[in-house]
């Protein structure tokens, strides 16, 4: 109780000091600045933003950039991490050593050094933006980033996009029907490929119905740069590659310990039943390993999101970078930092809730 009282007193003192200092230095306070014109530019992003827009939109653009790198990063890191983790358990000694080397090296060098190194590779070693490498027709890689074509938005694409959820639902229904039928009667067609085709058929139909638009916006090499098409800047690429390779090393360890946590008897029983090693892994071991994998995997996802804040060091305009600029422009450090913290805490909460739901699904249901 005494401790709590002391803490409350300290808190009150700090608050009083803050108010006194703010008043003495005549710094504005309050969140009113969010409605003012920001006046600075943001180099890239999904949110259409111009320097004449408000601070609020600037922060929104920053959040969009953070989510952009976090979501893509999580997906890629999980894929890479699972592959490397399973590679560490491989029978092939060469694969095992290489994967072990990867994990040990990348886990023991700080992330910020890896990011700086990737960024310097991207900006020093790649060619100038005016004379890029052409990886494929109209796909360019240079100091200015990676550019590739994207379709011009038209009605056909909108309908195709709208048809994706019904397509997925139809494929899901087909698979469930086939599985139920096999469960009832013991035999029935394997409809995996048919389901995949069905999932693609719906959007295809939507695209055709919308007039089959074929116009693409192609990147062109102009005087200074490559312009047009989807542009991924070297900042985004360096941040993404750095985060993915770093987090994949940790996910590999988690996957490996998850698979090792499944009792060896399970693998032996699966072999005794005549399952091939790949089938045994898919049907017997991985589902049980998921129970052990999911909680630490959640914290790795959250770590990736938090580590994306290192973008401020290499010039990628995520929300921390934009808050930094805002603090320098208007001096309201307290409000901007509160904004960043709430953004991260919200992302944290949402991810934790989502993964908690998934965890309960794969949790051990004791009989």
């Amino acid at each position: 109780m005494a401790l709590l009282g002391g803490l409350a007193l300290a808190g009150a003192l700090l608050w009083r000091n803050t108010r006194q200092n703010l008043a003495a230095r005549q710094i504005r306070s309050g969140f009113g600045f969010l409605g003012q014109t920001a006046g600075f530019d943001i180099g890239e992003g999904l949110v259409p933003y111009a320097p004449t827009d408000t601070y609020l939109l600037a922060f929104a653009a920053g959040v969009a950039n953070t989510l952009r790198v976090a979501v893509v990063g999580i997906v890629l890191a999980t894929v890479l991490g699972t592959l490397v983790g399973l590679g560490r358990l491989s029978r092939n000694a060469l694969v095992r050593w290489l994967c072990t080397g990867y994990v040990e090296v990348l886990r023991n060098v700080p992330l910020i050094i890896q990011l700086f190194a990737w960024y310097l590779v991207a900006t020093e070693i790649l060619p100038e933006a005016a004379s890029p490498i052409e990886l494929a027709p109209h796909v360019y890689l240079s100091k200015g980033g990676l550019q590739f074509p994207h379709p011009v938005w038209a009605r056909g694409w909108a309908w195709a996009l709208a048809a994706v959820p019904p397509g997925l639902a139809a494929a899901w229904a087909l698979v469930r029907w086939a599985r139920a039928r096999r469960g009832r009667t013991g035999h029935g067609p394997r409809l995996g490929w048919a389901a995949v085709l069905l999932a693609f058929a719906f959007p295809l139909a939507g695209w055709l119905a919308g007039g089959a638009p074929r116009a693409f916006e192609l990147p062109e090499v102009t005087r200074f740069n490559v312009s047009g098409g989807v542009s991924l800047t070297p900042e985004f690429l360096a941040l993404l590659v750095g985060l993915v390779t770093f987090t994949a090393a940790f996910i590999a360890e988690i996957v490996r310990s998850g698979v090792l946590a499944v009792p060896h008897g399970q693998a032996e029983a699966a072999a005794a039943l005549g399952l091939a090693p790949r089938q045994a892994m898919r049907l017997v071991i991985l589902p049980q390993a998921l129970r052990v994998i999911v909680p630490p995997l959640t914290s790795q996802f959250l770590n990736l999101t938090k580590n994306s804040s290192l973008a401020v060091a290499i010039g990628y305009p995520d929300v921390v970078s934009i808050a930094n600029t805002a603090i320098n422009q208007n001096g309201q450090a307290l409000e901007c930092i509160v904004v960043i913290m709430s953004v991260y805490l919200t992302i944290n909460l949402v991810t934790a809730l989502g993964m908690g739901w998934y965890n309960r699904r794969v949790a051990l249901v004791e009989g």
């Binding site: 005549q26 102009t222 060091a313 010039g315 320098n328 001096g331």
Partner: protein, 343 residues
């Protein structure tokens, strides 16, 4: 194992040891400076011509000389200055927090900064403008031809806002790459990440001296904004504000009166001009009104030199920056430097 008490001891030791180096009282600034015995001056980490260390570790530059002038006026010696290098994120926070007494860090005087950051500018020591630097091999002669280019600019500076306004006004599309430190920006520009670098012209000249091949880069002629650079102090301390303001004006007035480091003593003994006599402490006592002694402006002229000497030594044609005086000439010679009478 009695963990808590012993770790508490370690903790107390550690925290005490950290806290010791730096606690100090910041009351009225003039009293604090006199008590401390030195002026704490916030400068740039490395801005050639304005505030940079030479190979012996001595600070040199125009902003450095302004601080030395204040020290000479207040404490009697231009050497009684401690320089604190700050990057553009820390500069205002350091001044607001009382870690430094003067911010002399080639900072642009704007309304927002004057009115809302808790600081106030004391004068202009360099009239600058914002420009662009491009590699010569791009063969760009004018900023208006930069359509489609990638431009490197530093976060949170007036340059960021100005370049956005300029390109908007001229209908030019561009991409911007924004970094938080000058070192990161210059590294990106010189590695070819962006085609143009925009900041104050004096900064461009200084950055160019830091490459292995300065002749490969050209500064475009367009000046797209006004950038009056000057020192600033905390709001609310009028006495200190007046001292810093008049220290700069004394340097300018010294050049107007023809007083140099070399001839200060001679003029003090021989000159019949009352204005010169006042400046050199041989006439009316202007220092008393500022809270200083009689020889305050004499010491500035003798130990630091007049504005022209400082400019020639740090930014002039004989230095690697090679900047012309341009708008920074005296008003009588067609420039903008005008000191109110020191009387």
């Amino acid at each position: 194992m009695e963990l808590s008490r012993r770790t508490a001891v370690s903790l107390a030791l550690a925290l005490a040891a950290i806290a010791l180096p730096a606690t100090a009282l910041a009351g009225k600034t003039l009293d604090a400076v006199k008590q401390r015995g030195e002026v704490v001056c916030g400068v740039n980490t490395s801005a050639p011509g304005f505030s940079a260390t030479d190979s012996q570790g001595r600070w040199k530059g125009l902003d450095v000389d302004v601080c030395r002038a204040v020290a000479a006026a207040v404490l009697g010696s231009a050497e009684k200055v401690k320089f604190v290098p700050l990057n553009s994120q820390q500069r205002f926070a350091a001044l607001q927090a009382g870690e430094i007494d003067i911010l002399s860090r080639n900072t642009t005087w704007t309304l927002t900064r004057d009115a809302s950051l808790g600081i106030v500018f004391t004068g202009i020591d360099y009239f600058d403008g914002q420009g662009f630097m491009v590699p010569k091999k791009l063969k760009v002669e004018s900023a208006k031809k930069l359509g489609g280019a990638t431009v490197c600019v530093q976060a949170g500076t007036t340059s960021e806002k100005n370049v956005a306004d300029y390109f908007l006004a001229n209908g030019i599309k561009y991409k911007s790459v924004v970094f938080d430190t000058a070192e990161a920006i210059q590294s990106a520009f010189f590695s070819g990440r962006c085609q143009a670098y925009t900041t104050d012209m004096s900064d461009l000249a200084g950055a160019r001296t830091k490459t292995a091949k300065p002749q490969d880069y050209v500064i475009l002629p367009e000046v797209i904004s006004k950038e009056p650079l000057g020192p600033s102090v905390r709001r609310g301390d009028d006495e200190w504000f007046a001292i810093v303001k008049w220290a700069l004006y004394a340097m300018i007035e010294a050049e107007e009166d023809g007083i140099t480091q070399a001839n200060a003593d001679q003029l003090k003994a021989e000159s019949k001009d009352p204005g010169v006599q006042r400046m050199l402490g041989a006439g009316d006592d202007t220092g008393k009104l500022l809270g200083l002694d009689k020889d305050w402006s004499y010491r500035i002229a003798k130990q630091v030199g007049n504005y022209g000497e400082s400019f020639e030594a740090n930014l002039g044609p004989k230095t690697p920056l090679g900047l012309p005086r341009g708008a920074n000439k005296l008003w009588s010679k067609g420039g903008l430097l005008y000191a109110p009478p020191v009387r």
